[in-house]
Homo-oligomer: 197 residues x 2
């Protein structure tokens, strides 16, 4: 049933209007996040003994905790801390796996400001120890696997006054498009298989 304004114009609820927008490459319209997809993927890997990879908890500085009787402790005051590492790590066939996941709504390039100096430093340390280190970039309607060594090259270019982002062409050249699936939604292990085994 269509409701109409007194002038005869049909009433369109906001929810309907949203549906008419062009499909977005962000997660906001489908109630799902890159983090959700990766958690589901990692859960599938874990349950099927493919790999053991977890997202690290969000670091929080706890200031005040209340201990009410007979019930759980309640954190009453806490603050978000900046992480000194990447968000995901674990093990696959004996090898150490370490990655960060980021997304952009940009249509032509991936901004490097998505990464922090601490994370870049951590990636360097992991590479020095011969770890498998990469980033998963949700951009241009794809999921890209980009080896951290490539990211470091783009990062250094920025530090030397170069562009502050990775272009779509650069990403297509130096990255790998991750196959998606129903169970392993962002099936990045497939890329690791191709590159390392």
């Amino acid at each position: 049933m269509t409701f109409r304004y007194p002038n005869g114009k049909p009433y369109e609820p906001k929810v309907e209007q949203k549906k008419k927008q062009p499909p977005s490459i962000t997660y906001s319209n489908r109630g799902m996040s890159l983090e959700d997809d990766l958690n589901e993927t990692n859960k599938f890997y874990l349950e099927n003994q493919v790999a053991v990879i977890h997202k690290k908890p969000t670091p929080v500085q706890i200031v005040n905790v209340d201990y009410p009787r007979r019930s759980a402790a309640v954190i009453k005051e806490a603050y978000f801390k900046q992480s000194s590492t990447t968000d995901y790590n674990g093990i696959y066939r004996g090898k150490y796996i370490d990655f960060e996941a980021k997304e952009t709504k940009n249509k032509t390039s991936f901004p490097l400001q998505n990464f922090h100096a601490h994370q870049i430093e951590h990636m360097k340390n992991v590479l020095f120890q011969d770890g498998i280190c990469f980033v998963i970039l949700s951009a241009f309607n794809q999921f890209y696997y980009l080896d951290s060594r490539h990211l470091l090259t783009f990062w250094d270019r920025q530090l030397n006054g170069g562009r502050k982002s990775i272009t779509i062409d650069e990403l297509n050249e130096s990255g790998h498009i991750i196959p998606t699936g129903y169970q392993a939604r962002i099936d990045y292990i497939k890329i690791i298989d191709k590159l390392y085994f």
Copy 2:
């Protein structure tokens, strides 16, 4: 100089008395925790490019966050969650490292109730992927490195109705005493070197 009571008995200040007690195996008397010592050790490893090993943040379920103007977000309500993994992981010379650290004040055995079924499950998963997985036990005035495979044996014995702890003799037999130092306070990498390289 010795002060004396009127009856001739020497006065002993309380500080002196403390010194006469047997050395304590708990951290409470020296204002330092097992976690502090491990954090310092890992910091030393990181800064000297020995290994990249971090403690995971405490998992917290955030329920309510306040965003006051022009200042940092304040978490107003949150709860501690049980971790589904061990606390420490990282990489050493290409190999995945995973461990949990626990302490006891007991003088004759290490109670298995220090571990949760989730952590045991996680250790099994890591071992299946060929990771280096162990526990660091602060007990009997020592730091022990105990391979998770041994811990699993003791755990299974408990599940089958056996004793609920690891005796000091068992720990001395199946574990390795970790050397301590000024910089690498609990120098567990030395044991990994001995066992794996």
